[in-house]
């Protein structure tokens, strides 16, 4: 067997390592380089896995099969409802809440009664759980020492006491560094995260060793177990357990929120709300991984020891030892110690804060000893109280462990503890989501639920342990059959945990809701309800909350109060920081207004809890009690203001949208303006060009009468041509402007389109003859009649023909005019054998002042407006004008004019 001294040294050495980790964490926090990352936060949540998980899960699996998993599935599901946790964190930060007792007390009017009640429930529910951890440590010592500790052994020789003492020192050192309990214990969190990793690796090591070392892997293990009907029974869950399966999921889901240590780690120690995002999946993943080998270990233990009376709760240690793996057993021992240590430290810190702030302080404040008018620094006293509370809680745990021994009241405590803290659920959830929930309701619910829990679960466990009579369990209270402790009103067929959970939560929630609805809340409660429920909706917590306090105060008194409870140094540091938020250089100039009183109370809350803080602040300021009606009015107004500001926000959004539309419209106008500007500039250019020749040539003729006659004739010819070009240009610009503005005059009538084409050809015939261009036609004798303006149609035709003749080569040029009637329209085609157009030119030529090809020689004839005008005209008649061409292949200009409907019918009739 392993030497006892060696094991003891190893244990102390491991705790020393935790010290080192915690010191490192604190040092880094002091240096402003926090090591609390999202991953560390998520791992620290695994303080949930105590020695009860480490050793006890295997034991549960040997009797209940896979149902032990419910204890870990519940927290997984609750973490997915992370929005609840986020709200708890946000409220706690805003209100400087330091424990779950403070949370509930603060919400229901900063009530000392509630704070005390919650603390008592937590202490009664959880101290035995601490005892269970010590028992696990003790039992693991026995196993690795190999000699059961004699119960008659004097307490001072007990190694468990030594361990408990080290834990107390650790907790005092790292848990009470600051007075302000809202200050985080980063060193402790780091140590907890570290121990979480250690216990996980230790458990996995044992699991892998047993599964793959002792047995031939998972399937081998399961197959061997399946051979025994006794064990094969564990492979499935039968429907008779369905109730307790769900109950355990609900119970553990509540425990992950409301166990004091979980509240401490999850809410109070949270550094950054965004860490929750990692924890939501990483912590459940941790739970899954640590549970993979629980069931295999249980089966392995049962197979290996063949039901040989070995305690299943010790399989994690005894299996490696039986296989001679002493080193692994020691590692497992460290893992178990680790799990117990983490739980004890955090739970003790959480409980000591509650005991100090919610039980001891109210009593102290009432006693003459801390007369509020005395100006004595109480910060040292506060720290001493907290340290004393830590010591007492651990001693209580140790005492319970020594007294209870193997009694059921200790071994069954895990779920009993869970059920106790589940009683906080109605007051907590109601407090966060239901404004009507009030103080009286919370007190009634908690008392009722706690009473039912005592009667149906804790006291029966005492009875089972033989400490008290069993009469109330077996025969009912006062012999009344319907009052059997674990079959209330004849409700049977449930296990004791489900039975307790059902009745206690029914009574608890029922009383909470009913009493809340039947009684009137106090003014403070209404204010707090608003702050809690709407915490996400009031970012600044400004206006209304300051107006909810009225009275007179002296800044000196408030500062003195802060210095007494926080210590002068810390108080001045906080005051200076607060003054900066109000843009004051010197905190001594702070006005004693509502906001300052609020600040002082919040600061004090961090140190002594909200209920005590309220009493203390009340002792130095003259507060004018606001009536409930008044508070409700102010809150109403505040919510109206919020509604207005939302309306304003909506209005300003509308304005923004309107502005954007205006801007877009303006952009469009600017674009149009720019286009108009371009157009004017182009027109100017087109008008100035012929004027340039006219002016230059006229000036020269005028200045120099000696120019010879031929030159004179030539120049005057040019002047005439350019003057004509100018005239044409002006006419066409006017024409274009009329067409575009819709002011053109149209005289529409029935027009024989063939006649129009022939007339047009006649009027440009001279141009063709001069250039020697052939004009061929392919026209019917008399074409269809269309509805159009005869002159306009002629204008289009002449434009197309004169364009064609301009671009074809002299002598060899050939222009063909054709006409087709099809699909309800007439199509006229003017084809030439000129140079043709490139693809991109085919559209460009229909833009104003854009001419095709190099028109050097013929430039004076073109204005660049003919085609755009023609297109406008054709489109007015409902037709289209376009060109089909390829370079070198000539161009075909085509336009269509729709046939009138009845004409169409007549034609059909003729055919």
């Amino acid at each position: 067997m392993i030497s006892g001294w060696f094991v003891m040294l190893l244990a102390i050495g491991y705790l020393g390592l935790l010290f080192a980790v915690a010191r490192f964490g604190d040092a880094r926090a002091d240096a402003g380089k926090s090591i609390i990352t999202a991953n560390v936060y998520a791992l620290s949540l695994a303080v949930y896995c105590t020695s009860w998980t480490f050793y006890g899960s295997v034991g549960r699996a040997t009797s209940g099969g896979l149902s032990f998993l419910t204890i870990y599935i519940g927290p997984t599901l609750m973490l997915l409802f992370g929005t609840v946790i986020a709200k708890m964190i946000r409220i706690s930060k805003a209100q400087r809440i330091t424990s779950i007792a403070d949370f509930i007390a603060s919400r229901y009017g900063k009530s000392q009664l509630l704070a005390g009640l919650v603390t008592v429930i937590a202490v009664i529910g959880v101290v035995p759980y601490i005892a269970l951890q010590l028992k696990a440590v003790s039992a693991s010592f026995d196993i690795v020492f190999g000699n059961p500790v004699d119960a008659s052994e004097p307490w001072w020789a007990d190694s468990t006491l030594a361990i408990a003492a080290v834990m107390a020192v650790f907790t005092i050192l790292f848990g009470t560094r600051h007075l302000d309990a809202t200050e985080r214990h980063e060193g402790m969190v780091a140590a907890v995260a570290f121990e979480s990793v250690v216990k996980l690796i230790a458990f996995l090591a044992v699991g892998l060793f047993v599964t793959y070392g002792v047995f031939g892997g998972l399937s081998d293990l399961f197959r061997k177990a399946a051979a025994s009907p006794e064990l094969a029974r564990l492979f499935t869950v039968d429907a008779s357990r369905s109730g307790s399966w769900l109950a355990l999921i609900v119970l553990s889901a509540l425990a992950i929120l409301f166990l004091p240590r979980q509240f401490q780690i999850t809410v109070v120690e949270n550094v950054d709300e965004s860490h929750l995002r990692r924890a939501v999946w990483l912590f459940p993943l941790y739970l899954l991984v640590i549970n993979i080998f629980v069931f295999p270990l249980a089966l392995g233990g049962l197979l290996h020891f063949n039901g040989g009376g070995m305690d299943a709760d010790t399989f994690v240690l005894t299996l490696p030892m039986a296989e001679g793996a002493a080193g692994l057993a020691l590692f497992a021992f460290i893992g178990g110690l680790s799990a117990a240590t983490g739980m004890v430290i955090v739970e003790t810190i959480a409980l000591s804060t509650m005991v100090c702030n919610d039980l001891v302080m109210p009593w102290l404040l009432r006693s003459r000893w801390v007369n509020p008018s005395a100006r004595k620094d109480l910060s040292g006293l506060l720290l001493s109280i907290r340290r004393g509370a830590i010591t007492v809680i651990l001693l209580l745990g140790y005492a319970y462990f020594r007294a209870a021994g193997e009694a059921y009241a200790l071994v069954g405590i895990g779920l009993i503890s869970f059920s106790a803290v589940a009683q906080f659920a109605p007051a907590m959830f109601g407090g966060m989501y239901w404004k009507q929930g009030n103080h009286a309701g919370a007190v009634a619910g908690l008392l009722g639920g706690f009473g039912v829990w005592l009667f149906t679960l804790l006291l029966p466990s005492f009875a089972k342990s033989g400490w008290i009579g069993k009469g109330f369990v077996e025969d009912g209270l006062f012999g009344v059959d319907t009052l059997k402790a674990q079959a209330l009103f004849g409700l049977t067929g449930m296990d004791e945990i489900s039975h307790c959970l059902f009745w206690s939560l029914l009574v608890n929630a029922g009383l909470y809701v009913a009493v809340s609805l039947l009684t009137k809340p106090g003014a403070v409660e209404v204010t707090q309800a608003e702050r809690f429920v709407d915490v996400f909706r009031r970012p600044g917590d400004g206006g209304a909350s300051a107006r909810l306090w009225r009275g007179s105060a002296s800044a000196t008194d408030l500062v003195a109060l802060l210095e007494r409870f926080l210590g002068p140094a810390r108080a001045q540091q906080q005051l200076a920081a607060y003054a900066r938020t109000r843009r004051l250089d010197d905190w001594k100039r702070l006005p004693a207004d509502a906001d300052f009183v609020q600040f002082a109370e919040t600061e004090l809350s961090g140190a002594i809890g909200s209920a005590s803080a309220r009493v203390m602040v009340g002792s130095v300021v003259q507060e004018e009690e606001l009536g409930l009606e008044e508070v409700l009015d102010i809150l109403d107004e505040a919510s109206q203001v919020r509604a207005y500001s939302r309306e304003l926000e909506a209005k300003s959004k509308e304005l923004e949208a309107a502005t954007a539309e205006l801007r877009a419209a303006n952009d469009r106008l600017l674009e149009l303006d720019r286009m108009k500007d371009d157009f004017v500039s182009t027109v100017t250019h087109e008008l100035r060009t012929p004027l340039t020749s006219i002016r230059a040539l006229s000036e020269m003729l005028y200045d120099d009468p000696r120019i010879d006659l031929n030159e004179r004739k030539r120049f005057i010819g040019i002047i005439v041509t350019e003057a004509e070009r100018l005239t044409r240009l002006i006419n066409q610009i006017l024409d274009m402007a009329k067409l575009e503005s819709g002011r053109a005059e149209w005289t529409n009538g029935a027009v024989d389109i063939v006649a129009v084409v022939r007339e047009s050809m006649d009027s440009v015939g001279q141009l063709f003859r001069e250039k020697g261009v052939e004009l061929a036609t392919c026209l019917p004798e008399s074409g269809p009649i269309v509805l159009a303006d005869r002159d306009r149609l002629t204008q289009v035709m002449i434009n197309l023909l004169s364009n064609a003749v301009k671009f074809v080569p002299a002598k060899a040029g050939r222009v063909t005019v054709a006409m087709v009637t099809a699909a309800g329209e007439v199509r006229v085609e003017v084809a030439d054998n000129g140079p043709g157009l490139a693809a991109d030119e085919c559209e460009v030529i229909f833009e104003k002042f854009r001419q095709g090809g190099n028109t050097m020689t013929d430039k004076p004839q073109g204005t660049g407006l003919g085609l755009p005008i023609s297109r406008q005209i054709v489109e007015y008649f409902g037709g289209r004008l376009w060109v089909e061409s390829e370079p070198g292949q000539g161009a075909r200009f085509l336009f269509t004019v729709p046939l009138p409907a009845e004409q169409d019918n007549n034609q059909d009739g003729d055919n």
Partner: protein, 123 residues
């Protein structure tokens, strides 16, 4: 020795008038009908002054001016830009690109001749 002037414009009638005007004043004149031709003639004809229209096919007057000024060989060449678009931005752009003077069409023949002569240093 007579100064050489290159006229670059795509309007034949303007070219005719300018050519006549400059020849009458005793200059040696060459003509280009578009931007590319203008660049080629500057290299071949080596004019002392270029009358350069802005709106020309192939290469605009601005592009021609820029290309000429990028080459140090043409440092002595005087460039007078002619435009029918009288906008201030165009004038500024032309001068920024290295033109020596800017004349708006239609122009007074006397003024143009005076300007050309003064730029060539003929009094």
């Amino acid at each position: 020795m007579a100064h050489k002037i290159l006229i670059a414009d795509d309007e034949p009638n303007i070219v005719i008038s300018l050519e006549f005007l400059m020849k009458k004043e005793g200059f040696v004149v060459a003509v280009a009908g578009d931007g590319e031709e203008a660049l080629a003639k500057v290299a071949g004809f080596q004019p002392d002054l270029l009358l350069l229209d802005v709106m020309m096919p192939k290469k605009s007057g601005f592009e021609v001016c820029e290309a000429l000024r990028a080459d140090n060989a043409n440092a002595a060449l005087k460039i007078v830009m002619l435009t029918a678009k009288g906008r201030d931005t165009e004038v500024a752009k032309g001068l920024a690109l290295g033109a020596d003077a800017y004349v708006t069409k239609p122009f007074s023949t006397k003024d143009l001749v005076a300007k050309v002569k003064s730029m060539l240093g003929i009094v």
